[in-house]
Symmetry: C2
Subunit: 221 residues, 2 copies
DNA sequence: TATCCTAATACGGAAACCCGTAAAGTTTTA
DNA sequence: TAAAACTTTACGGGTTTCCGTATTAGGATA
């Protein structure tokens, strides 16, 4: 089982809760962080002092506040950490249930487990601990099929970004030029139209206002 | 200070965390619930057994699962409980930061404190405990100005109805004909256009999508 | 390399929306 | 009661969005 664990979540109450789960698994050497940059530094320092962490449990989304952070999300943190410390096991513990997100975290970032925050979060976190300790992958039931199917209905970060910009009041041409400057592809007006169309289809929206409204209600943006 | 507390949140990890906060305030008689209906029954039973709760700490949003629940949200729970047990203090502990929501909870549901989940959630929850114990109201800094009348803008029910219909995906002509059948005046397309224009002006929205998005964020619809 | 397939882009007409102005209808008030 | 002020409706022309179709680019396959 793991000896030294870093828990990263911006909500202190959640951090406390995760700590309890670890305690009940007889893991007592636990450090907390509320920012990704802070977590990054703690991992580096621990390694330098020859007392490295062997497990990282991190949230994905972090609310920004007065503190400037270079790493703004759990994805950023993992991307910064994993290449340097490939032996550090990583468990993601997040509200996010989009399969696409889970898939890329597992496949390209080398995350070892993905646990969804929910009614049984503590239980699943415990299982994840034991599985990952045995070098096995663990996924919460909600996202089990992240790896099997290529779910066409699945929406990705591009879609979210697109809808977010719509909700911010940008016109489709404005989004097109914005994407061009940000090197986000596809960026043509036509492609943006087409994508919006697809999304309206997926979410059964009558028009773009409706689409944005639905996606806001779902909490995706 | 409070003797017997019920904590209601669908995330078990959060429940654990809140429990720790209570412990550190020397409150040890704590019961947890993960569903609103469950919470409702526990409150009723406790009262019947002459061992009533004197504090309820509840989340607002609960994910639905296989269990059928009559009370689907923290608002529902409070609305069901408060009239019957007006002496039961209530602290809301939620991600939600929309002022309109906070306002109605405080003003019409008689909630005693509103704490936002966030980096300092534990800290603020502690303060809320002591304040509410002294019969004082507590609001997290993020929502402090929920009660300032300042936020009452120059918009009326007609505007809300209009924007709500937009968010439901109706086109402007559809809204026009709908208003005609409902005898809501003004109902001409031109007037509706004009009203939307005024609202875009008030809320500094670039276009109608933006308008709906802003008004949703404000919790007005 | 040639072929196939899919994703991205381009384009054009129709519909919806935007916006200013003008007319008609109501209410206020002098 | 008439003028003024405001609200509602009407209308026209410009812009954006919508939607189907056609073309192009790029990657996979054989």
């Amino acid at each position: 089982m793991f000896k030294k664990v870093l828990v990263v979540d911006d909500h202190d109450v959640v951090n406390e809760g995760v700590l309890r789960v670890l305690k009940s698994n007889n893991i007592n050497n636990v450090v907390k962080a509320q920012y990704c940059d802070e977590a990054f530094l703690k991992i580096k320092n621990a390694a330098l002092n020859n007392q490295p962490f062997d497990l990282l449990i991190s949230d994905l989304s972090f609310k920004e506040d007065y503190k400037e952070n270079k790493l703004k999300s759990g994805e950023d943190l993992v991307a910064a950490i994993k290449p340097e410390y490939p032996n550090l096991a990583v468990i993601i513990y997040s509200m996010e249930e989009r399969l696409q997100k889970v898939r890329t975290l597992i496949n390209t970032s080398g995350v070892n487990a993905y646990v969804c925050k929910g009614r049984k979060g503590a239980f699943e976190l415990s299982i994840a601990l034991t599985q990952v300790a045995k070098n096995k992958l663990y996924l919460s039931p909600q996202v089990q099929n992240a790896l099997n199917k290529k779910n066409d209905l699945e929406i990705d970060d591009y879609d979210i970004e697109l809808i977010k910009n719509l909700s911010l009041g940008l016109s489709q041409v404005e989004i097109s030029t914005l994407f061009k400057t940000q090197n986000i592809a596809p960026s043509s007006l036509s492609s943006i139209e087409k994508r919006i169309n697809k999304l309206k289809d997926i979410f059964k929206a009558n028009n773009t206002i409706h689409l944005v409204s639905i996606v806001k209600d779902l909490g995706l943006i």
